[in-house]
Symmetry: C2
Subunit: 496 residues, 2 copies
C-alpha cells in the first residue's frame, strides 16, 4: 500500500476521527459519573461544538472522492471491509442535509426534556405534540436514508444500529418468538414453585462495590485497563485500553447491581478484545448494538445466571456481606430467587422470559410508525393492546406504558430490536461455545471465565466489523441466527 | 455590533475554541485522576490529535484577516480588550512554523521522559544532551517570538505566561527581595524558638478528605460547581461552572494536604468568579500564571496560615480526627509548627520565607540561558553557586539540585517567576483588602471568607483579562507592584 494512496489517507483521517470520538466518549462518561450538576449547561454547549466538529471531519467533501478513489486500489480483505465501513459511516453522516440534522437534534432535545416531566405525571398528552414533531423529522431522515440505501424507511433507521439488518428477517425471528412466548409463559408461571425469600439487606454500598470488583477480577477484568463507577443509569463506555462500566446500587438488593456489573463486564470484554491492529479504524469497531448486547447477555444470562455460577457465587456473596452461615446464602436460594418469572409493565425490570415480549411490542409499534400504519395519537391504545396480546396485562397508565422508555422521546427509533437480537444471539453463541469446549460450564461453575472469553475473543471480539452480524453468527455457530436455541435455553432453564 | 462583523465572527470562533480547550482540560484532568494506567499510550495519541485540531482552529488563515478587519470596527472597551487578547493568542500560536512546533514538542516529550529516569539517579549527564537539544529548539522559538513581539527572547517566553511582563521589571522586584532575604532569613532562624511537636498521625485519608471538603465548604466552595479529587501532583483545572481541584494525602501529616486544598481552592475561586458575560472569550479568562498564583497564595499564605485561622482550625481538625481534648490540638501549636523556617534543597517543600529564593535562582538561571550567558554544561555548577548565595546551602547531588523540577525538562522556560510574582501580589492584595474591610481578619478568624472572596471577585476575578496584570494590581491596591508589603508581611509574621 503506497503511503500516498487514497486508502491510506482515509485510514489516517478515520484514525483522527476515532481520537475525536473517543474523547467525546470520555467526556460523556464524565458527564454521567463525575461532572458537578451545575456544569450541565456549559457541558451541553461544549459537547455540541465537539460533535459538530466531529461531524465535519466525516462530511468533509474530500471524503467522497477519497472513498471513490480507494475503491479502485488494491486492498486486502480487511482493508476492503474497512473501506466498506468507512463508506457506511460516511453515507449515514452525509445523507442528511445540515439543516435537517440540526432541526432533528433540537426536536429530540426538546421532546426528551418534556418527556422528563410527562413520564412521572403519566401525561402522554403533554409530550404528544413534541413527539409528533420529532417523529415527523425522523420520518424525513428515514425517507432520505431510505433513498440512499435502497431499503425501506424503517430499515434505514435500523441500519444505523444493526448494519445490514432488515425488518423482513427480524419479523421471522420475532414472530416465531411471539408465537412461542405466551404459551411458554403460561406454562412457566403455572409450574413455578412459590417464591423463595432471598437474604434480606441492607447491603452496604461499599461492600456491594467490593463484591462487584472481586467478581469482575475473577472474570478476568484487568483494572489496569478499565474502571467501575456509579451513575444514574448503568452503561458501558470508554476508549481503547480503557473500558469503563457503571452501575447503581440499591441497599435492599445486591443481586440487581451485581448482575448489572457482570452484564456491563460482558460489554467491556468486547471492547477490550477488539482487534488491536485495527484500532481506530471502522473495521476494528464492535459490529452492532445487537452484537454488543449478545456479549453482555452471554455473560449475565447464559453464564452468571446459571445454577452452577449461583452456587459458586453464594458463599462469596455471604462472605462479602459478613453473612456466612446465615440461612438463604446458598446457591439454590439465590438461583430460585433469580429465576422468578412474572409479567410486568416495565421493560428494564423484566425477567429473561418476558423481556423479549417488551421488545417485540416496541419493534412492531415503531415499524408501524414508519410504515404509515400508526400515528402518535394512537400510540397509547396500540401499546396497551400489544401488552394484552403479548403479556396478558394492561398498564393502568402511560407511565407504566408507552411513556416508560427514553428511546423514542430522544429520537432513538430502530434501536430496540437489538436487545432481543442480542439475547437470541447470546444463546446461540453459548451453545456453540459449549459444544466446542465441553468443560465450559464446569469452568464457569468454578468462576473460571477464561475459556468462554477466549472463545468469544476468537469468534466475535477479534473479528471486529470484518464481517456482517449474520456472517459472524454463522461462522461462529455453524448456522444462521434463529430462535430455536434461545427457546431451548428457556425451556431447559425454566421448565426442566 | 452587526452580526456579520469581523469581531462577531471572531467571538464565535473563539467561543468554539474555548469549548475545545475546556474539553481538553477535562480530558487532562481525567488523565491525572481517573484514567487507568494501561490507557496512557492511547490517551497520548488521542490528546495529540485534539491539540493539533485546537491549534488549527487558531492558526486558520482566516483569523489574521478577521483580526485586521475587526481593528477598524467600532468596539467598546471590553470588546477592544477582547480583540487584543485574541491577537495575543493568535500571535503566540501562529508565529512558530509547524515543523518547529512539532520538533519542539517531540524534544520536550523525549527530554521529560529521560528526566524521569535521570532525576532519581541524580544523573544530570544522562539528560544533558536531550536538555541541550530542547534548549536549542526553545531558543529558536524564543528568537522568532522575540522578532514578532519586539522584545528580548526571554521576555518573549515570559509573555506566554505573564502577558506584558518584562524581565527588566522583574529584576527590580527580585533583586530587592534577593537583597532582603539572606539577612532576614538569618535573623528569623536565629530568633525562632525550638521546634514544636505537632500532633502525630496516622491521619486516615478518608478523614483528611472529609476535613478538606468541610473547610472548602466553609470557605464558600459550592460543590454543585466543582470537585475535590486525588492525584499524584495537586492541581487546579476544569471548565466554566466546573472547578476541579486535587490533592494528595500523607497519613503522617494532615496539614500539608489541607493547606494544599485551601491553596487550590483559591485557584478555583478565581475561575468560578470570572466574568460570566465574557465566558469563552479571551478577555474572560484569568489574567496570568502569576495572577492565578496570587489567588491561591492569598487564600493559603495570607488567610489560612494566619494565627487567627489556625486557632479557628485547631478544634475542627481535632474533631475531624476524633482527637478533641488531646494535647497539641490548639491554634498556638498548629501555628508554631506551620511557621518553621529552614533553608532546604527542594522548592516544593520550602517554607514561605525561603520559597522566593528558590524562584529567584531559577529565574536568574533561565534568563542567563536565553541571554547567552549560560550553557547546559554549566547548569549544575551555576545552580549550586546560586543556592549558596541565596540560601547558604549547597545540594549534595543534582537530584536535590538542578534536576528537581520538571519545568525545564518539559520545555517550560519563563514559567517560574509567576510563583513569586504571585506571592508578592497576594501580600499587596491582602493588605488593600484589609484596609478596605477593617473586619477582614476577624472574619477569617471565624472561618468567614465571604468578605475576602467578595473583594477579590470585584477587583481581580470579575475583571478577567480586561486589564494587564500591572493595571489590575494598581487599580485594586492604589499602587504599582513592589516588594515592600510582602517584606512587611514577612517581618510581621516571622519577627514580631
Amino acid at each position: 500500500m503506497p503511503t500516498n494512496s487514497a486508502y491510506t489517507e482515509l485510514a489516517d483521517r478515520f484514525a483522527r476521527m476515532a481520537h475525536f470520538g473517543d474523547a467525546l466518549a470520555i467526556i460523556d462518561w464524565d458527564t454521567q459519573t463525575m461532572m458537578p450538576d451545575g456544569a450541565a449547561d456549559y457541558r451541553a454547549a461544549q459537547t455540541a461544538t465537539l460533535r459538530a466538529f466531529h461531524h465535519q471531519l466525516l462530511t468533509d467533501p474530500a471524503i467522497r472522492s477519497l472513498l471513490d478513489a480507494a475503491e479502485g486500489e488494491t486492498l486486502d480483505d480487511w482493508q476492503r471491509a474497512n473501506l466498506n465501513e468507512m463508506r457506511r459511516d460516511w453515507v449515514h453522516a452525509s445523507a442528511i442535509p445540515g439543516r435537517l440534522v440540526e432541526a432533528h437534534s433540537r426536536a429530540a432535545s426538546a421532546c426528551e426534556q418534556i418527556w422528563r416531566e410527562a413520564r412521572p405525571a403519566a401525561d402522554f398528552a403533554k409530550v404528544k405534540p413534541a413527539l409528533a414533531e420529532l417523529l415527523r423529522l425522523t420520518r424525513e431522515v428515514a425517507a432520505i436514508k431510505s433513498q440512499v440505501l435502497g431499503v425501506s424507511p424503517y430499515d434505514a433507521l435500523l441500519d444505523q444500529f444493526e448494519p445490514g439488518a432488515r425488518a423482513a428477517d427480524i419479523d421471522l425471528l420475532f414472530d416465531d418468538l411471539a408465537a412461542f412466548l405466551p404459551g411458554f409463559l403460561a406454562e412457566v408461571t403455572r409450574r413455578q414453585p412459590a417464591p423463595v425469600v432471598p437474604p434480606k439487606g441492607p447491603f452496604p454500598i461499599e461492600r456491594q462495590r467490593a463484591l462487584g470488583v472481586k467478581m469482575m477480577e475473577a472474570m478476568g477484568f484487568d483494572f489496569r485497563f478499565g474502571r467501575l463507577d456509579t451513575s444514574r443509569h448503568p452503561f458501558s463506555s470508554g476508549a481503547p485500553d480503557d473500558a469503563r462500566i457503571t452501575t447503581r446500587y440499591d441497599e435492599a438488593d445486591f443481586m440487581r447491581s451485581l448482575m448489572g456489573v457482570l452484564h456491563e463486564t460482558g460489554h467491556a470484554f468486547y471492547e477490550l478484545d477488539l482487534p488491536k491492529e485495527w484500532r481506530g479504524q471502522p473495521v476494528g469497531r464492535a459490529r452492532s448494538t445487537g452484537m454488543h448486547e449478545s456479549q453482555s447477555l452471554i455473560m449475565e444470562m447464559q453464564a452468571c445466571r446459571s445454577k452452577g455460577f449461583m452456587a459458586h457465587l453464594a458463599p462469596l456473596a455471604a462472605e462479602a456481606f459478613g453473612r456466612t452461615g446465615e440461612p438463604g446464602w446458598d446457591g439454590a436460594t439465590l438461583w430460585a430467587a433469580n429465576m422468578r418469572v412474572q409479567p410486568s409493565f416495565i421493560r428494564v425490570d423484566a425477567d429473561e422470559v418476558t423481556y423479549p415480549a417488551h421488545i417485540i411490542l416496541r419493534y412492531r409499534l415503531e415499524k408501524a410508525l414508519f410504515g404509515g400504519a400508526l400515528e402518535v395519537d394512537e400510540l397509547p391504545a396500540a401499546w396497551n393492546k400489544g401488552m394484552k396480546e403479548l403479556l396478558g396485562i394492561v398498564p393502568p397508565d402511560d407511565r407504566l406504558g408507552c411513556l416508560q422508555d427514553i428511546h423514542w422521546y430522544g429520537g432513538g427509533f430502530g434501536y430496540f430490536p437489538g436487545y432481543t437480537l442480542g439475547a437470541v444471539t447470546a444463546a446461540q453463541f453459548f451453545d456453540a461455545a459449549r459444544r466446542a469446549i465441553p468443560s465450559l460450564e464446569s469452568a464457569i461453575a468454578r468462576g473460571d471465565f477464561a475459556p468462554l472469553r477466549g472463545w468469544l475473543a476468537t469468534h466475535v471480539h477479534g473479528v471486529g466489523s470484518r464481517y456482517s452480524s449474520a456472517e459472524i453468527v454463522e461462522h461462529a455457530t455453524g448456522r444462521t441466527l434463529d430462535a430455536e436455541i434461545f427457546k431451548s435455553h428457556l425451556r431447559k432453564r425454566y421448565l426442566s
